[in-house]
């Protein structure tokens, strides 16, 4: 089975403001306190874009930026991020924007905002990321509902092997606004980004992955972290992040319904 190295991680969720800050908590060395996420700035984007971007775009880009390192993602500077193909993964995209469009369509003039319309596409964070980092490499945006993170990881691995180059995977989901929140419950915003290299050496951990038979998904022992895992599709990454933080060899199963994805984690 081919291997993949996790070079760097970006993280942004309640009580987990970055990988650097949250790593010890995920390793079990510090209790988890799910403090609400403060407002995030879109530091990466030029000022004219910064005003218009939504919470979804800011969250995705914030995690992505930590995973590539602050020096490599400076706006309009062709840093190392410009060389990275990307995979952006979200269960439902930007529901704040979709809600505004559907609400506008109930009014007599049906005046859809042009900005909302172009931000309604699933690949909006990917587009803003490529603009911010001057990246012209391939970028895929996808969804597999609650299995989005796991299937995104497969796509990122396949992309890294096919292109023989490191790849950036960014997974993010946010609570939906009312009334959509009645039909799709996401408990808190959460984003994770993994810088993945096809070269199996060094980094934070080595991963081996394959589609697997249906079995119970890996869970977390902390009840609050487990609540976040089941309450946000991007947070399905938490058992994997926890294994990497603990630096223990583990076998993680990522998907609950449909097919599973088995990830063998080897510490660095």
């Amino acid at each position: 089975m081919k291997a993949l190295t996790v070079e760097r991680i970006g993280l942004c969720g309640p009580g987990l403001l970055s990988w650097t800050a949250g790593r010890e908590t995920l390793a079990g060395g510090r209790p988890y306190a799910p403090d609400p996420l403060p407002a995030i700035a879109a530091a990466l984007l030029p000022a004219n874009e910064r005003r218009r971007v939504t919470a979804t775009i800011k969250l995705a880009l914030h995690a992505a930026q930590e995973a590539v390192g602050p020096a490599s993602a400076a706006a309009s500077d062709e840093g190392p991020a410009a060389a990275l193909p990307t995979v952006f993964v979200s269960s439902g995209g930007d529901s704040e924007v979709l809600d505004k469009i559907c609400a506008a369509l109930t009014l007599p003039d049906r005046a859809v905002s042009p900005v909302h319309f172009h931000q309604s596409v699933h690949n909006t964070p990917s587009g803003y990321w490529s603009i911010a980092t001057s990246c012209r490499r391939a970028s895929t945006s996808l969804s597999a509902y609650d299995g989005s993170f796991g299937y995104g990881l497969l796509e990122a691995a396949a992309l890294a092997w096919a292109e023989a180059t490191p790849v950036l995977l960014v997974a993010y989901d946010l609570p939906l606004p009312f009334p959509l929140s009645d039909r799709r419950r996401i408990v808190a915003p959460f984003a994770v980004a993994l810088l993945l290299s096809p070269h199996p050496a060094g980094g934070l951990a080595t991963l081996r992955l394959a589609p697997a038979a249906d079995a119970p998904a890996s869970r977390l022992t902390d009840p609050e972290l487990e609540r976040l895992r089941v309450g946000n599709p991007a947070a399905r990454a938490l058992p994997l992040l926890s294994a990497i933080a603990r630096q223990t060899a583990e076998s993680i199963l990522l998907v609950e319904r449909g097919r599973g994805i088995r990830v063998e984690v080897e510490p660095a």
Binding site: K2, Q119, N123, G127, S130, A138, A162
Partner: protein
């Protein structure tokens, strides 16, 4: 070195030209457009659309009732044509249901169901109607989930949603996931259906033409939104296989603007060059390019520059949007399958509705159907967010 080719061992298209391959091929041959003045729901817009007739009267029932929405109805209609579901059932038996992947491109999935639900909100509480099912209709994954369920497959399944390049990129994802060993065969497809979001959204951007769209024409003034479903079954090609094969793909980002294409078509050129490089073939050998060609003034101009840079002015090319309209997330699969038909039939289709080529543009856009043998053909798909994908198809003996 060229990549390992993938054969299209079954395929189907449904769009404004009709249901199944024969309807599209016949219309392409006869130069008959599927566009009509906008008559979708109660949309009062002066534009033309490519609507699939009859969807309103064909709900999903029984085990699939939860999936019922225009987009999944269109997916079902597509899967029922040309013996496609039977071909997938045979592949399922050959490889196992967990080894056939599903990669479906869509831009808006079943958002039409949410548009309708918002109009039926409870006036007091604001709540959505009881029968609204977000997961199985509106959610981006819904159409991939429906496709997997309808075909009784249980392997890798995902929805690719990169606006108007979505279902072209499904081919690239399928190629690499098969190469990675995550599946042994793949159903790739694209489904996008008419909804108020895209009709009023393109109208708000000033990009919807009040006439049938005229790609590359000096008087082009915008696109017509269409709807379509298309699917292909991909299996590794055998050396003796004479079917059409995917020989290369290229993907890039403009890194320029969320809605405007890079004025020099830099990202588009990169995608075309990558597809040629993956096939290890010189641009001179390409016999036909199916352009993205939406007929908006700036998109066609940018693509023109990119085509001139990579191919020069001599390669015959055309946009088939004058037949189907712009089917958004389904444009990639629709035009990929058109290209496969053209390769088999030796047909270079005209750029329908294009009367007078814009003298500012230089690509070799064809104004009348031509019959000639074709060995290699490319299909371009570009979208919002600056996403680009080019697919290169050939006869396996090419």
């Amino acid at each position: 070195m060229a990549i390992k080719p993938l054969a299209l061992t079954a395929r189907t298209v449904t769009n404004a030209l009709g249901r199944g391959l024969a309807a599209s091929l016949s219309a392409l041959r006869r130069g008959e457009s599927g566009l009509r003045p906008c008559d979708f729901e109660d949309a009062a817009l002066e534009t033309w659309i490519g609507r699939v007739a009859g969807l309103e009267d064909e709900p999903l029932r029984g085990d699939f009732a939860a999936f019922d929405c225009r987009n999944n109805r269109l997916a079902r209609l597509g899967l029922e044509q040309d013996g496609f579901a039977a071909a997938v059932a045979a592949a399922r038996a050959r490889y196992g249901p967990e080894r056939v992947g599903v990669f479906v491109g869509t831009s808006t999935s079943g958002i039409g169901a949410t548009e309708q639900a918002y109009r039926q909100r409870d006036p007091a509480s604001g709540a959505l109607p009881e029968n609204f099912d977000y997961q199985h209709t509106h959610n981006v994954f819904s159409v991939a989930d429906f496709t997997r369920s309808w075909l009784d497959l249980n392997g890798v399944a995902l929805a690719i949603s990169t606006a108007c390049s979505s279902s072209a990129k499904a081919f690239a994802s399928a190629w690499r996931q098969m190469s990675a060993g995550f599946c042994d065969a793949a159903v790739v497809g694209g489904v996008d259906s008419l909804c108020l979001t895209t009709l009023y959204g393109f109208h708000a951007l000033g990009l919807a033409s009040p006439r049938p769209c005229r790609p590359w024409d000096r008087e082009r003034d915008g696109l017509n939104v269409g709807e379509a479903a298309g699917f292909a079954l991909l299996e590794w090609a055998e050396p003796e296989d004479r079917r059409v094969v995917l020989r290369g793909y290229g993907e890039s980002s403009d890194a320029h603007h969320m809605t405007a294409a890079h004025p020099e078509g830099a990202g588009a050129a990169l995608a075309m060059e990558q597809a040629l490089a993956r096939a290890d073939i010189a641009p001179e050998r390409i016999d036909y390019i199916n352009l993205h060609g939406t007929a908006t003034p700036s998109n066609d101009a940018a693509e023109d520059r990119a085509v001139l840079r990579v191919f020069g002015a001599d390669t015959p090319c055309s946009s088939t949007k004058g037949w189907t309209g712009h089917t958004l997330g389904a444009a990639g699969i629709t035009e990929a399958i058109f290209v496969s038909l053209c390769l088999e039939q030796g047909l270079v289709p005209a750029s329908l509705n294009t009367r007078q080529r814009d003298p500012e543009l230089g690509a070799g856009v064809v104004l009348e159907n031509r019959e000639r043998p074709l060995l290699w053909a490319m299909s371009n798909s570009f979208g919002f967010g600056g996403t680009n994908c080019s697919l290169l198809f050939g006869r396996n003996d090419g």
